[in-house]
């Protein structure tokens, strides 16, 4: 009886542990498939022309997505103008003066904000920017992306500032340096690498956003760098080309996806590299 019980426990143990391993393997399958399909479909299309030329009209073959790449860069720039100052300074406030009720409310709000679906942020950007200006514009898209950047940057900035040892602050104050200078010149500087990493991470996130751009930046088949007019982006380019009934456009969507994934992978590798050296330095 008790022997059977023992065997049963052992069997259950073996079964469940292997199932856990199987789950880990299964989860990686889509990742590998997505990479495999994106690379195998996209690699044949990608060329210097694809990266530097404009989209061709329907029916003509070839063409590229230069305007979409430039558009995405402009949108990221506009987003950073909105998101970086608010994110970094709010993070500084929370780390240095953040022991009051107001700060707790803000922390809670940034957490909540990070869970708001990006399409909802797009709707808000539409009502705030597009409706009054009666014009879809890069500005509206950048505004939406900027809002989406804030939670990530605020949180990483606060965490990185808190990693700076208290003795640094005390040393600054003991030398008679005003607190604001201590914060800016010593604490912020020490945490700068970590904060930059947070910014890179948030850029990697918004570079892949589509939903908030659909009715703000809209998309544009022509060359445009005017922030008051609709602008193309890699993600909306992929969306439009994936739904188009032409096989060549579909293939170009894969190629654009490959470009996008490469950009994001490089950014997250950078993030990993920086953050690892940072944390390990702290722990050892």
């Amino acid at each position: 009886m008790s022997r059977w019980y023992y065997y049963k426990r052992k069997a259950v143990n073996g079964l469940m542990l292997s199932l856990s391993g199987v789950a880990a393997a299964v989860v990686l399958v889509p990742l590998l498939l997505i990479f495999f399909h994106t690379i195998s479909h996209g690699i044949a299309i990608i060329s210097v022309d694809f990266l530097t030329q404009m989209p061709k009209p329907v029916g003509e073959s070839g063409g590229g997505m230069a305007n979409a790449i430039v558009g995405t860069l402009i949108l990221i720039g506009l987003g950073s103008v909105v998101g970086v100052p608010i994110g970094v300074l709010a993070g500084v406030y929370l780390a240095e003066f953040g022991e009051n009720r107001f700060a707790h409310v803000v922390r809670f709000l940034t957490d909540v904000l990070s869970g708001v679906p990006s399409i909802v942020v797009g709707v808000v950007a539409y009502t705030i920017v597009v409706l009054p200006m009666k014009q879809f514009s890069a500005l509206a898209g950048g505004f939406a992306l900027g809002i989406l950047m804030i939670p990530t940057i605020t949180r990483t900035t606060e965490e990185m500032m808190r990693l700076v040892p208290h003795s640094f602050r005390e040393a600054g104050l003991a030398l008679g340096i005003p607190q604001w200078k201590t914060t800016l010149r010593i604490v912020l500087r020490t945490a700068l690498k970590g904060i930059a990493t947070g910014i890179v991470l948030s850029i990697a996130r918004i570079a892949g956003e589509t939903a908030p751009l659909l009715f703000t930046a809209l998309g544009n088949r022509f060359w445009s760098t005017d922030i008051l007019h609709p602008i193309a982006s890699l993600t909306v380019f992929i969306y439009d080309y994936a739904r188009a009934p032409f096989e060549e456009w579909n293939n170009q969507a894969w190629a654009a996806a490959l470009v996008l994934i490469s950009i994001i992978t490089i950014l997250s590798l950078l993030f990993r590299f920086f953050s690892r050296s940072r944390y390990e330095g702290q722990h050892s």
Partner: protein
């Protein structure tokens, strides 16, 4: 302790004038700079509060017409007819909830398995590689999931998954009808792939934060590895539940990938093979087409609805994770 010491030093520096030169002046100057700096950072922090307020205000203000016209009937009516200007959001609410539930049912066991493997079983080098890959999975943009879903996953579902399901389990209403590929099942599957990394990586952190003594106690009582793990999972349950809710929040608001595979038809059907529509998808598809003011207001009301639902889910998630970290810090102290 350290914080309070720092605080005390700060107050001392503020109050006690340094002996010697220009005491009055320099201390007032320091105060001014400090106050200006604090004020400036406060201002930017306050902008987060303002922005959140504006977001809510804009959505309520932008949907007044529809709020007044349809009232509560907006969420109970099935008719979505822009031509007749009749707007009911029930098919979208249904599509959002069902596709997310399908994803959750599939994702919970999978992510728990992954989390347990990463936190308890895998050797350190393997854990590092796998964790990186799971994070990479979370970093892939949803548009790429959508692209892959549309051209790879949907044909696969149509040819390999749905025919046997309808053959063997076709008597169940959820597997009824013709295998079409695009539909609720496809949406649920792509959402599963997207939320597993989130749930798995946060659950892994929750499992790792369980005090070592809990495991040692279990082993000391003669528990097998698996029995120990069940205890550890139980201990971390509020964190894991919070992670699940965060995943749910992501699934509810996910737009592009779902829009590209769900088929986009505002119907309510019990079968997972049938196409559906979600709140996020209808926004993505119809927002630029809203020709009348009432149409636009109805769409913004859907955004408001989606916002409210995801906020509630996310707040619950945060609350649970906060509970988890409190239990652990108390357990550590006791």
């Amino acid at each position: 302790m350290i914080a309070s010491l720092d605080e005390r030093i700060r107050t001392l520096l503020r109050r006690v004038p340094a002996p010697g030169m220009g005491v009055e002046n320099s201390s007032r100057h320091t105060n001014l700079g400090d106050r200006a700096f604090r004020g400036a950072t406060f201002l930017f922090t306050f902008m987060i509060v303002v922005l959140s307020g504006i977001m809510v205000y804009q959505m309520i203000d932008g949907s007044t017409l529809s709020l007044r016209e349809f009232g509560l009937g907006f969420v109970t009516s099935q008719i979505w007819d822009p031509v007749q200007e009749k707007f009911g959001a029930l098919p979208f609410v249904y599509g959002t909830v069902v596709s997310s539930l399908v994803a959750l049912i599939l994702a919970i066991p999978l992510s728990l398995g992954v989390a347990v493997f990463l936190a308890e079983l895998a050797p350190r080098w393997l854990e590092r590689i796998l964790s990186f890959m799971v994070e990479l999975l979370a970093a892939i943009p949803s548009i790429v999931y959508g692209l892959w879903g549309m051209f790879v996953m949907v044909p696969w579902i149509r040819e390999t998954i749905e025919p046997p399901l309808s053959e063997h389990l076709g008597f169940l209403p959820i597997f009824e009808g013709a295998p079409y590929g695009f539909g609720m099942l496809a949406a649920g599957l792509i959402l599963t792939v997207m939320i597993v990394p989130i749930i798995a990586s946060i659950s892994r952190d929750a499992l790792k934060s369980v005090p070592r003594a809990q495991r040692e106690a279990a082993y000391a009582l003669g528990a097998t590895r698996w029995e120990t793990i069940t205890l550890v999972v139980k201990y971390a349950r509020s964190g894991i539940f919070g992670a699940t809710l965060l995943g749910l929040g992501r699934a509810l608001g996910e737009t592009m990938a779902v829009t590209m595979v769900i088929g986009n038809r505002p119907i309510i059907s019990a079968s997972l093979f049938d196409p559906g529509y979600t709140m996020a998808s209808v926004l993505a598809n119809e927002f630029t087409e809203a020709t009348t003011e009432l149409y636009l207001h109805a769409l913004i009301e859907i955004a408001l609805l989606l916002f409210t639902i995801t906020i509630i889910v996310n707040m619950l998630a945060r609350l649970l994770m906060w509970t988890m970290s409190r239990t652990i810090s108390q357990g550590g102290r006791a």
